[in-house]
Amino acid sequence: MTFSLSIHNTLAALAEAQKFVETFLSGHGVPFEAAYAVRLSLEELVSNIIRHGYDDREPHEIGICLEILPVVIELMIDDDGRPFDPNSAEPVPVPASLEEAPTGGMGLSLVRTIAGPMEYQRLGNRNQVKLQIAF
């Protein structure tokens, strides 16, 4: 079962996409933990692209493709933003105090740990990130 959609680079479009994805996953009986990992990956990866991926304020297309296979869900996200490998993000350090605790920049660590490794490639002018979420 495959689901794909293309959204504009706005947080409102991401919120709408999450609703479609949720309907697709629940309609195919995907367990809560795997659905959570998909939702988290979309939230963190796509919001990162929207906030940091572009040098202009023009509309851009972000592609989202989900495929439910026998034991994994394959999630692929592609965009025409600046080249960025999400695996290059540093792990979150232990803060020495509450004042030093991070209030941002944690999303990719969350995805790596909860959803699993991300496979990145640059194809032409597009970034492509692929995850395989086991269930």
């Binding site: 999450q18 939230e43 963190e44 919001s47 232990v94 803060p95 605790a101 944690m106």
Partner: protein
Amino acid sequence: MAEVRTIAATDEISHIRLVGRLDIEGVGTIEIPLTAATVARKRPAIVDMSGVDFLGSIGIGLLVRCAISLQRSGARLVLFGCQPLVQKSLEITKIHAVVPIVESEAAAFELVVVK
């Protein structure tokens, strides 16, 4: 969608229950009411997380900002009752090292109330 419910707002404590998803959309809804119900009151705050079924990095950032602001007022913020994946997210981001996270309301109350 997400929601902030005030369970108790006394001179001693702010007792808050969060419900729903702390994602981009949810945080947009609760940021102001949560700040008003905790930071603005300048009282120790215990936050019931049992109704939170999704916690993204934006939600973690909001909780940390509230905890930092409260600390600057001399009060503490304690989280309790996290669902397993929410608890895991707080541990991955090392927030549990600086914001107390306990299992029960009683344990949270114990941490913030001076006897």
